[in-house]
Amino acid sequence: MLPQPTNKSHLFLTYFELDSDKKPHSKLINSHPFNHEIQLLLADTQAEVLLRSITENEQFFYEVEAPLSMFLDTSFLEKNLTKKAGSDQKTSMFYMHTIDTYLDTEDVAVIDGDGHLVLSLQKETYEAFGLEGKAATFTGNGRRYIITIDVSAPTFRPGNKTFDRTKWCLDNNLSRSFKMVMTRVDTNTGASLDVLLSNVQHNKKSVSWTSSKLEGIRLPNFETLKLPEGATPDNRWKDEALEAHEWLGMATLGSQRYKSRPTCIVKILHLLMARLSIRLSVNDKPDPFLSVYSCPEPYTTGSVALLRCAGLVTPQYIQNLLITLRKEIKAKQCWGALTVWGYRDSPIAWRGREHGFLTSGENDYTILLLREEKDACEQRAVCYQALGVYDAL
């Protein structure tokens, strides 16, 4: 056997039942706090109804450029972050992620839903910062440090030792501005809530959906991915699941969006990648020297509808999306997929565990909902979780 290359990303495959008591899908979605792009894919049907129902509740987030000390403002804490004393259940969750910051070479700050401010600082910044942290696990020899501060504690107020020290450090040693996105969400309903930003310049943005369609393509039905009751996935199933993932990936390339202000090279690259989705088209007969791709069997000729959005999206919203998608699939008698991309440069990802970048900062997942009969009470699904080089689930 050949030695395995060490710097490899991973893909975890899971096969589960959506209605089982363990609620695997809900655990999975909640364990992944920072999501910046979502795509819904519906096979062989129109997406208008779905688009209307998901845009009913407006989802928004804020773009802010400010120093991190804004989070220590007492009224800001009171309104957005502080846990209510005495109640275990939080009514709202606050998410923040700095943008245009690169994890391996720059300082990154995030606030996860549980009210922890997580700073990933480069060695030089950390040595001049003044708060105790620990060396990041995956970046060799203390090049990067992780500092976690619980900013949601009711005792985190002026006069508290931790608060005062944190404030001094942020005011004096990390006073530069960060570009960041933030949002607050109702834990029960998943609706976006306002963030109190009285004295900070901000830009309120709503999550906007775009829809596109790929027509005249070879459309597999993925029926072979369904396993009989009690059976465990084997290697054949694994191969088929990976083929399905490849197909989904190519369909996704067809709906690829530009990031804001792409460079010329990025544009060309995107165009080339978009061309790849041609491999799915019925009329495509490439020279086998160029491509030997074949669509997973059995397939029919059909179309897919793709809905895509970008922005800081909360797990609660994704939960709602999954429910809506499921209803739609049931009504239309088709299969669908939900793909979520996480921020590449988050210091934490799955289940609050440390995340690294190194060669690729992947932390994405796709939930493929298989087609079920109209009267079936179960919903089987395949989940693909993509992990970066050193990440753990």
């Binding site: 003044g130 105790e132 004096n172």
Partner: protein
């Protein structure tokens, strides 16, 4: 023999050494000795007494004395007893008592230090010259603050230096606390005459006295 002219006692001893005074057969000595003494002693009545007490029975070695087996003399202990540095530390001679941990108490020291700086730097304005003089200067009385450190809790500590040892700086902070800060793995800031200097703690890890006479070389900097 040369001694004989000097003192009253010694010459007879030396003179006596020519004969064995214990031997009864040495009549020549018995005859000549009283006459000789009579000649030298001021009082004639003392002659017999001198012979009895000082000459009779006295042993004199003619050959060199045997020194090989004699126990060596220990050097006399100095009357002044000194205590070692360790004992000084154990006795707490260097510790500043708790009631003296007051910032205002050390402000005069800082004023003194400022005067010392005036004197040391003189009229030169070049920061380079200043830095070279500062690296050899005495820091007791200076206001230092930690700007970078491997240990985050030291960062931001600022105050008057009250003691300097080989590897530590003891600082009284404005909130009247004595902080012991290691020189290693820290960078300190010091403001002198409007210029702020960064002092790399790793490079000044010497005793103050040693530092003053040391030749410092330019080193490429420097990781903490």
């Amino acid at each position: 023999m040369s001694n004989s002219a000097k003192s009253t006692d010694k010459p007879k001893v030396v003179g006596g050494s020519n004969t064995d005074s214990r031997s009864n057969g040495s009549l020549a000595a018995d005859a000549t000795l009283p006459a000789l003494l009579k000649e030298y002693l001021p009082n004639e009545s003392e002659v017999q007494q001198t012979i009895n007490t000082k000459i009779q029975g006295r042993k004199v070695h003619i050959d060199a004395a045997d020194t090989t087996n004699r126990p060596k003399k220990k050097p006399a202990k100095s009357k002044i007893k000194r205590i070692t540095s360790r004992e000084k530390r154990q006795l707490g001679l260097y510790t500043i008592p708790k009631h003296c941990h007051r910032y205002d108490l050390f402000l005069p020291l800082h004023e003194l230090w400022k005067g010392y700086m005036e004197e040391l730097l003189g009229n030169t304005t070049s920061a380079l010259v200043h830095s070279q003089k500062l690296i050899k200067a005495d820091y007791q009385g200076a206001i230092l603050s930690v700007v970078k450190s491997k240990s985050p809790s030291y960062i931001g500590t600022s105050g008057i230096v009250v003691q300097e040892t080989e590897s530590m700086l003891n600082i009284i902070t404005a909130d009247n606390k004595l902080k012991h800060i290691p020189k290693a793995a820290s960078i300190f800031n010091m403001t002198v005459k409007g210029n702020t200097f960064a002092i790399y703690g790793n490079q000044i890890r010497f005793r103050a006295a040693e530092r003053a006479t040391r030749k410092f070389k330019v080193k490429p900097t420097i990781d903490l």
